[in-house]
């Protein structure tokens, strides 16, 4: 009888021990999980700032006041609903959103590998982290930020709400992030561009018959001080081009001309505009000037042709509209950075034509073919500096698509939504 009791006792004790072993699993004291859509592994250009958010939950039974261990180049954002303060107090099972702003210009060259680490706060008088009680995200969710060279911004003309958005361009993927409106008060803006020095931004207001000029914040890329350029004589301007030294501004006018204005190098304002006419012009809807400043390419929407004109100072003449093919109500034209290819956005067929630019001194177009990219609406394509990504606006979807661009033959492929948001009837796209 006694032996039976002992056996039972041993069995019960064994089960209890087994149970306690199972229950005594490890779990983070303070769980730190990225919020939905938050990317924690970044290749961050040195001139960009990115935001990463984590949900922090106190999983212990004790109310704790918590502090993030400082990370060089990372600033905690403490405003907003549900956002963690600094420090922040969480009772058992309570959560808040830890929002971090990562500044590429302040990150050490070795990058950020790890964290954020959240610790109990030392005391109310000493809000520094107490290293004796700390947690961090699981290994796949810790910060992994590498810094790369300065990245470009993409500027998008929002023709339907008369603004300009600018976004960060991920140099590795080409995707757009952190899009925000940077200029307002434009009037049907369509063609946009920068002077060669990158110090001034110009928007052609096809409805307002004006050209807007803005200064460029060289640190952030934001547009500031946007004003009317002062240029006159425009007739539904819709394109932007420059002479190589930036002293002459060109724009195509739907009312069958190309304007050439002098640029004030200090203010960016335009003056002394002259209109160049050509019998080949037929509702010019956009134009581009090659980097040598010797040829202008003007799309003729009504004739479905492209005029290739000689350029000399403010004179645009001797236009040839016989080269190239596969155009259908061409709306926009963009030259690749190496000036070997021209991309024509067809409003009629809602696609993109790529042509070779002959390097025989004529500048004419040849071997034109339809390539990828679903262009819808007005405006033109944009390219990154390397010429490896092309950005195609789509007014119907209020979206911008990003495509891979082949440097050899200029074809576009693998076009996908750029992930940029907040656009309204995007027309012109330019990267700077």
């Amino acid at each position: 009888m006694k032996q039976q009791k002992n056996s039972r006792l041993v069995f019960v004790t064994g089960m209890l021990l087994l149970g306690s072993t199972v229950l005594h699993a490890a779990q983070a004291k303070f769980s730190i999980v990225p919020t939905s859509g938050s990317i924690t592994s970044l290749l961050l250009p040195s001139n960009f700032t990115e935001t990463v958010s984590y949900q922090v939950t106190n999983q212990t039974k004790i109310t704790r006041t918590l502090t993030m261990v400082p990370i060089t180049g990372v600033t905690q954002i403490t405003t907003g609903a549900g956002v963690c303060a600094s420090p922040f107090t969480l009772s058992s099972q309570q959560s808040c959103t830890l929002t971090l702003s990562i500044n590429g210009s302040q990150i050490p060259s070795t990058g950020i590998m790890g964290g954020p680490i959240v610790c109990k706060t030392n005391s109310s008088s000493d809000p520094s982290p107490d290293s004796f009680l700390c947690s961090q995200p699981d290994i796949g969710n810790t910060l992994a930020v590498s810094v790369t060279t300065s990245g470009q911004h993409a500027y998008v003309a929002n023709q339907l709400n008369n603004t300009v958005s600018f976004c960060n361009v991920n140099p590795a993927t080409g995707f757009l992030t952190q899009c925000a409106v940077t200029a307002t008060g434009l009037i049907g803006v369509e063609g946009i561009g920068f002077n060669p020095a990158g110090t001034f931004f110009y928007g052609a207001n096809i409805i307002g018959n004006t050209i807007t000029v803005c200064q460029v914040n060289s640190a952030t890329g934001a547009l500031i001080g946007c004003v009317d350029s002062g240029g006159t004589g425009f007739g539904q301007p819709d394109g932007v081009g420059f002479s190589p030294n930036g002293s002459i501004f060109y724009t195509s006018n739907v009312l069958n001309s190309v304007s050439a204005c002098l640029v004030n190098p200090t203010t960016g304002l335009l003056s002394s505009c002259v209109n160049n006419a050509s019998p080949t012009f037929s509702a010019p809807s956009d134009m581009a000037v090659n980097s040598a400043g010797t040829f202008a390419y003007v799309t003729n929407r009504a004739a479905s042709t492209v005029s290739v004109c000689n350029v000399s100072g403010q004179t645009v003449n001797s236009c040839n509209d016989l080269s190239g093919s596969n155009f259908n109500a061409p709306e926009g034209i963009t030259l690749s950075p190496d000036n070997l290819h021209a991309y024509i956005a067809n409003a009629g067929s809602k696609n993109v034509t790529v042509c070779n630019i002959l390097q025989d001194g004529t500048g004419l177009l040849a071997n034109c073919s339809i390539t990828n990219g679903a262009f819808v609406g007005t405006g033109n394509l944009g390219f990154n500096t390397l010429g490896t990504f092309a950005y195609v606006p789509n007014q119907l979807l209020s979206a911008v698509f990003v495509c891979n661009a082949a440097l050899a033959d200029g074809t576009l492929s693998s076009c996908v939504p750029s992930l940029g948001a907040g656009f309204s009837g995007p027309a012109g796209v330019v990267l700077h």
Binding site: L23, H24, A26, Q27, A28, K61, C119, K120, S131, I139
Partner: protein, 250 residues
């Protein structure tokens, strides 16, 4: 066990005293030196909950299994053969000074954050090296058999160096607290042993035996930034040793 060994140790010391008193009955004192290498394992690691800060407590559980590690002892003194009539046994006593070293004892366990077993988030380990200097005696029973039994005992002062504390997170989402610091504790030490020996000739003896030792207190020092208490502390760390000894009698 302790009581029995204590009695034997007391008897041995007493016999040494008798031996000194009955020097005319002995065959004289002989200087000897003994070397005893061996293996050791320790017991006595205990779970403990420490308040490291005013509002942070952690429980450190204790693993029972510790790995074996080497020890060595040098024992020098005087040997005296004597006839202890009161137990009707011919005895030989050895009394002298021993210096012993052992290490590294590896102690380990788990760490429960907030003393809560649901947050069994870290494992820890640290090492202890032990050195002691002791007054040691050995009482050897003379017999007609090949092997002669002996008991031994010592009391002295020990030095326990606790060092190399590390803690490893069991999950990637946890961050280890700063480690406890190294610390050497001076402490009272005693040993009790039994074994068998054989005289190879007039000068050489070999022995094999078991020795129990109370190494006394071990303690790690505070971690950087710790404001309360010290590091992990054991008031008694017990060592079990199997020794092979070689004695040279001059």
């Amino acid at each position: 066990m302790f009581r029995m060994m204590s009695i034997l140790f007391g008897a041995m010391l007493s016999s040494s005293v008798f031996a000194a008193a009955e020097s005319e009955m002995s065959s004289g004192n002989h200087f000897f030196i003994g070397l005893s290498p061996g293996i050791t394992w320790v017991t006595g690691n205990q779970a403990q909950t420490l308040n490291l800060q005013s509002d942070i407590a952690k429980t450190y559980t204790a693993d029972n299994n510790t790995p074996y590690f080497p020890n060595a002892e040098i024992f020098i003194g005087w040997q005296k053969a004597l006839a202890a009539h009161f137990i009707r046994q011919s005895l030989t006593s050895q009394l002298g000074l021993s210096v012993a070293v052992a290490g590294n004892a590896k102690l380990s366990g788990d760490i429960w954050e907030d003393g809560d077993p649901n947050f069994n988030n870290f494992s820890y380990n640290y090492k202890v090296t032990h050195t002691h200097v002791a007054l040691k005696g050995r009482l050897i029973g003379k017999s007609s058999f090949i092997l002669e039994p002996y008991v031994s005992g010592s009391i002295g002062v020990g030095f326990n160096r606790a060092y190399g504390f590390t803690s490893q997170p069991k999950i990637s989402g946890e961050v280890a607290a700063p480690p406890f610091g190294s610390n050497t504790t001076t402490t009272f030490v005693y040993t009790l042993g039994v074994g068998l020996q054989k005289s190879l000739n007039e000068n050489l003896q070999v022995a094999v035996g078991y020795e129990f030792a109370d190494w006394g207190k071990t303690q790690l020092s505070r971690a950087a930034g710790q404001t309360q208490n010290q590091g992990l502390t054991l008031n008694h760390l017990y060592a079990n040793q199997v020794q092979l000894s070689l004695f040279y009698i001059v």
